[in-house]
Amino acid sequence: MSRTDLGMPAFPRAAERATRDQRLRGNLRHATHTIRAKRATAVAELDDWQRLRAAGAAVKNRTLRHLDHYLLQAEAAVTEAGGTVHWAADAAEANRIVAGLVKRTGEREVVKVKSMATQETGLNAALEAEGIRAYETDLAELIVQLGHDRPSHILVPAIHRNRGEIRDIFRREMAAWGRPAPEALGDDPAELAEAARLHLREKFLRAKVGVSGANFLVAETGTLVVLESEGNGRMCLTLPDTLISVVGIEKIVPTWRDLEVFLQLLPRSSTAERMNPYTTTWTGTTDGDGPRAFHLVLLDNGRTDALADTVGRQALRCIRCSACLNVCPVYERAGGHAYGSAYPGPIGAILTPQLRGVTDPLDASLPYASSLCGACYEVCPVAIDIPEVLVHLRERVVEGGRVTRHGARVTIKPAKGHAAERAAMRAARWTFDHPRALRAGERLASRTRRLHPSRLRVLPGPARAWSDSRDLPAVPPEPFRDWWARHRAAKGERE
């Protein structure tokens, strides 16, 4: 994944910082609560939502279990329609392919539609190193690029910025990238959108190369599908002479008909609309309409490692709607940057440790970035049981074991820093499996309760993290089982 993400602090520390940023908390709370209510309304309009959800999950399961078959089918169809298909095993290979294709056109700049895959591979930086400038054209990506910032949300990468901050970024930075912001630009969203329209139009009209991702790739027809709102996608997909689309191998759906499921699930889950303003579908190239050259780069970059995990595999069903981010109480307070990858929120917490492994401390901390409240699973349009995968990945962190990394089966060691926890869990299991010892411990705690401090304000060791903000309940005079023994005896006498 992108280089800027490496060396990030583990999730808890970054999240802790975010919780103290009152403006960030306010921005995220406002945005996520706005979309939550709208999504619920959009979904409630369809009384067959759960059936669509089941169908969506099943279509993706079918695809994943026969991924090689569908990829070969898609490759043949795209080639037949005049496109060229490239395969990239990792981010570096994908970036090399794209840079090479751009260079061959003789161009030094590209316009980009928002694409999670190229965010993941760090394509912009790789192109920059080759002397090629990539212009992001999605409004939120533009805000991020102009602000020298990092995306913090899948759908709305600048969700951490409010209108005032966006106005300041536009005023300050637009001139260095092209057409400056209008004099006296205000913070009305419509005004800000207008400023982006003016700023980007000259770039769209002169661009010779466009770079995109895709929401879906239909295997039987070789058709690519991009859903968007602003029209920047249509600009990038239709005006340039050359179009390069970088698409994760899990984006495949088997048939044209399967789109009837996803074109209902995705807009309502994502922007809470019945349908997003623009969807473009294309198959290879078309004479006299749109790009004359089309390149499809199929990206692995850890996806096959996730595929090899029969529990974690379901994360590859993800259609990047971001509904799970919008309902997540942890995301709402930690913000997207704390997740340290292109994929923040609950889906990021299960995708990143599978795509990158759990050797980096940040990646190993992600499976714990959840209270397991289950709100993400409930809204997921393809029914990914995110809590189940989180717990599964926690096991991988604490126990290590056999996993697939870069396509090879390897055995990983348990992550560092869990020895005390492991010992405590073993001890607890032993105690719980020996009720007499458990009862003795409970009684001891009860009988010594007068010796406990009147308020447990500072606990030792890791428990201190609890006592920093919360009291512990007082130990009662006797455990339940002692009361039960007396109760039963008394009852026996009565009867």
Binding site: P12, A15, E16, T19, R20, P329, V330, R333, A334, P367, Y368, A369, S370, S371, L372, C373, G374, A375, Y377, E378, E388, V391, L393, R394, E395, V398, E421, M425, R426, A428, R429, T431, F432, D433, P435, L438, E442, A445, S454, R455, A463, A465, W466, D468, S469, R470, D471, P473, A474, V475, P476, P477, E478, P479, F480, R481, W483, W484, H487, R488
Partner: protein
Amino acid sequence: MRVALFITCVNDALFPGTGRATVTLLERLGVQVDFPAGQSCCGQIQYNTGYRHETEPLLRRFARVFAPYEYVVTPSGSCAAMVRENYPRLGERAVAEGRGGELAELAAEAVPKVRELTEFLVDVLGVTDVGAYFPHSVAYHPTCHSLRVLRVGDRPLRLLRAVEGLELRELAGAQECCGFGGTFAVKNAAVSSAMGADKVADAVATGAEVLCAADNSCLTHIGGTIARTGRGPRVMHLAEILARTEADAPSRTAEGFRR
């Protein structure tokens, strides 16, 4: 009908009043309750922290201890959810790992018996008016696992609405997690605390005297936050409200947070 109470380790050690209330309530409704002493913990905290293998002996114990009973009633949404959702998973994984079907069989026996308290009252006993009297204003926090894993729906609210004298107050953002999440509360203490503070703010805004839930782990978090800040309603397990009758002297339970 042979009914066993699964008290859960947290309630046994820290909240025996919830257990006493559950027994009182069930016996008042004519249920013969038994408490098999061999029970201990469902293993939720181990499982959810990634120690699946440490949970397996607890599954075996659970299945063995409760084998003679028709129903296992528990006043904890998350422990009921652990058994119902994750015990079958423990079995499946063991099968997938080539370790045989023993755990899967034990899980299949244990799972259908388990009822969270409000499920047992409404579905098995068929009651919503349990004859309780509690003349106080109360807000109800649904707790995540009751809400989204067990899907208890409005059962707790129906029970509360039937309590004489009780004034139910609506809790804003009720479906949001309180931020407990077991070891999450310690591993991501800052986010957990922020969630807890927001939950308490919503509870305070109801103006209710009591915040209740059917899960003491969540109430430990919410109550611990309230005790620290000194501002907020008293927290109580739902069972303790349902157990109260007009005959009860207005007494406070002995355990809980020192205020």
